[in-house]
């Protein structure tokens, strides 16, 4: 039998049940104070490809451009007895892991003394997040020497700060380079291993008392990928009209993170790129060769203004576009990955766009008058047969009507 009161009671019970389940998923408590970061409480200041990638993803450009996270943290009652600190690393809820001598964690934001249950605008710089990595793990330790292949880490200031401030930005990685990032890459943004797969980094929002004991915590996971794929090899180009077909051999590293290819041209695309380059050219003279480029140096990552096309994952050819005929271009290719990292460029090939005659031009040149769009109709076409067929159809209809 229908009972409205029972129905309300059932739905109230469901709401309580679902609400508690949601909270259980969103928060982790390590003591007497609840700490939560709602999904809507995470923002990025200028994330690369914001809205197209997860807010938790970090790529090289995010690090290079000094992007930062802004968190809103919700606290439970009793917060006034604690300070809020944000650490990155492994097992940061354990005090010894925040101890400089045995640290596996590093602090990534200045400590906060909460004045209400909501802490707004807690900023965590991406570079600070990435500063404590070493060897591809999340462990922040003393510095190690870098190599050209992997880079190394410098010392990390992982001192415990129960309430006092610590300059988190001072921790940084040491020198060393990587084949997949430019030589001038900031130390925090340099990969610490040759691994190409994304890595996960845990952020610990800790409520710490005056003895650095944890009174509550929340763990937020981000993923980062700084290694871009190696460039393709065997890059060649050819002639097209205002374009340059580009061909390459995919990198033999078996990098499954490759998600596409980016083309770079010198001079840059369009009339603007040509004007900026100061290249001398004559629209009536076909150049015989391309001069060497000081922009497209293999192993570097040119500025975005030199981008002149892209190709999808799995392609071995593509088209550099918006070029000017009779101008000698150098064209290079970089691989891109699932985190939108753009790798360093390959050797540059020579391309000289020039007018070509495709099928449709040849057809029109031979006197054909077709074309002009799917909806185009010529006033000079022969409608007689069409009208005849239409008339026959009409006659059949009329004949049938008479019969009935």
């Amino acid at each position: 039998m229908f009972n409205l009161r029972s129905l309300f009671a059932f739905w109230a019970l469901m709401v309580v049940f679902l609400g508690s389940a949601e909270r259980a998923q969103a928060q982790t408590t390590g003591g007497g104070v609840t700490v939560t970061v709602p999904n809507t409480g995470v923002r990025r200041d200028h994330q690369d490809y914001a809205g197209k990638v997860l807010v938790t993803q970090i790529n090289y450009k995010d690090c290079f451009s000094e992007d930062f996270f802004t968190f809103t943290v919700n606290l439970g009652t009793g917060y006034a007895n604690y300070g809020l600190e944000v650490w990155a690393g492994t097992g940061c809820e354990t005090q010894t892991n925040r101890n400089p001598a045995t640290a596996t964690c590093w602090r990534v934001a200045d400590p906060v003394a909460p004045t209400s249950i909501i802490v707004n605008n807690l900023k965590v710089p991406v570079r600070a997040l990435l500063s404590g990595r070493t060897g591809g793990s999340n462990v922040g330790t003393g510095g190690s020497g870098g190599t050209d292949a992997t880079g190394g880490t410098g010392g990390v200031d992982a001192s415990v700060g129960g309430g006092g401030g610590t300059d988190v930005s001072s921790g940084g990685t040491g020198g060393g380079g990587s084949a997949s990032v430019p030589p001038d890459a900031p130390s925090e943004c340099t990969p610490t291993s040759a691994a190409v797969l994304p890595a996960t980094l845990s952020l610990y929002f800790l409520m710490l008392d005056s003895n650095s004991m944890v009174g509550g915590q929340f763990v937020y996971k981000v993923t980062y990928k700084l290694n871009a794929p190696a460039p393709p090899s065997g890059v060649t180009s050819g002639s097209g009209e205002n374009i340059a077909p580009v061909y390459w051999t995919t990198p033999s590293t078996g990098d499954n993170t490759i998600d596409g290819y980016q083309f770079y041209c010198d001079p840059g695309p369009g009339e603007a790129g040509l004007a900026e380059s100061n290249v001398e050219w004559d629209p009536n003279i076909l150049p015989v060769d391309c001069p060497e480029s000081s922009i497209l140096t293999p192993g570097t990552r040119p500025a975005d203004k030199y981008k002149c096309g892209s190709a999808n994952k799995g392609s071995t050819s593509g088209t550099a576009t918006n070029l000017v005929n009779m101008v000698p271009y150098r064209v290079a290719v970089a691989a891109t990955d699932t985190y939108r990292n753009v790798g360093v460029i390959s050797d540059a090939a020579c391309a000289i766009p020039q007018p070509v005659t495709g099928f449709f031009e040849a057809y029109r040149g031979a006197g054909g008058e077709g074309g002009g769009g799917f909806c185009s109709f010529s006033r000079h076409a022969r409608p007689v047969l069409l009208l005849t067929v239409l008339g026959l159809g009409l006659c059949l209809v009329l004949r049938r009507r008479r019969a009935t």
Binding site: Q354, F359, E361, Y363, R382
Partner: protein
Amino acid sequence: MKRFVLGLILGLSPVASAQAQGVDEFGAYGRIANHGESAQIGLVEARFGPYNPNVDKSVDGSPYQDTFGDSTRYMLGLEGDWQLLRIPHLGTLGPGLGWGYTRSSGYARLTSDLDKLSSEKTALTIMPVYLVAVLRADVLPREFGIPIVPYAKLGLGTAFWWSSDGGETAYAGSVKGTGISYGPQFALGGMFLLDVLDQSTARDADVSLGINNSYLFAEWYGSELDAFGSNKRLNAGANTWVVGLAIEF
């Protein structure tokens, strides 16, 4: 073109009305046929064959052959027929609607030296669509036990086509390289009744799937999609043969 299609549909409408009543001047139909077969209402074909469009027939010179060479291109297609009328001691008659797809590609030539190829791809894609009246004389297998069904098709074809250079829509001056061609279309062919090879399976297919008969077929067809002799339309039709598999249901 819309008027033409409308006219053709209107022309067929009296017959459609007759079918709805279940009776026409040839007698009743639309019910279980002889030999315990399920009702037979139509046929679908999967088609494959060479397709070299008649582009060069409507213009001076040979732009198609010069661009794409003389190697054979192929077309994939589908056709669905509605077997509207059963003509006693002859076969079925009804409208058929077909669709196909073919693409030719090659390298554009350097304008400065037409004997030399550039690295830029140029392509012509054609998607023929046609509406035909189809007569299938299945009297031979039905009344004489000969597993052959000759057939004929006549109607109008059209083709959507588009040309590209370097992966982008082609232009000649300001004229866009896309269009629609139309013209007459006919076909003559024969189907071999596969049911005779395994009658038990054929019966099962009818009982479980409603497939009355299945055929292998070969057909010669011609389509002159040049707007009835004009060079105002790219002649995207072809005179060629096609083979395929057909099932009646």
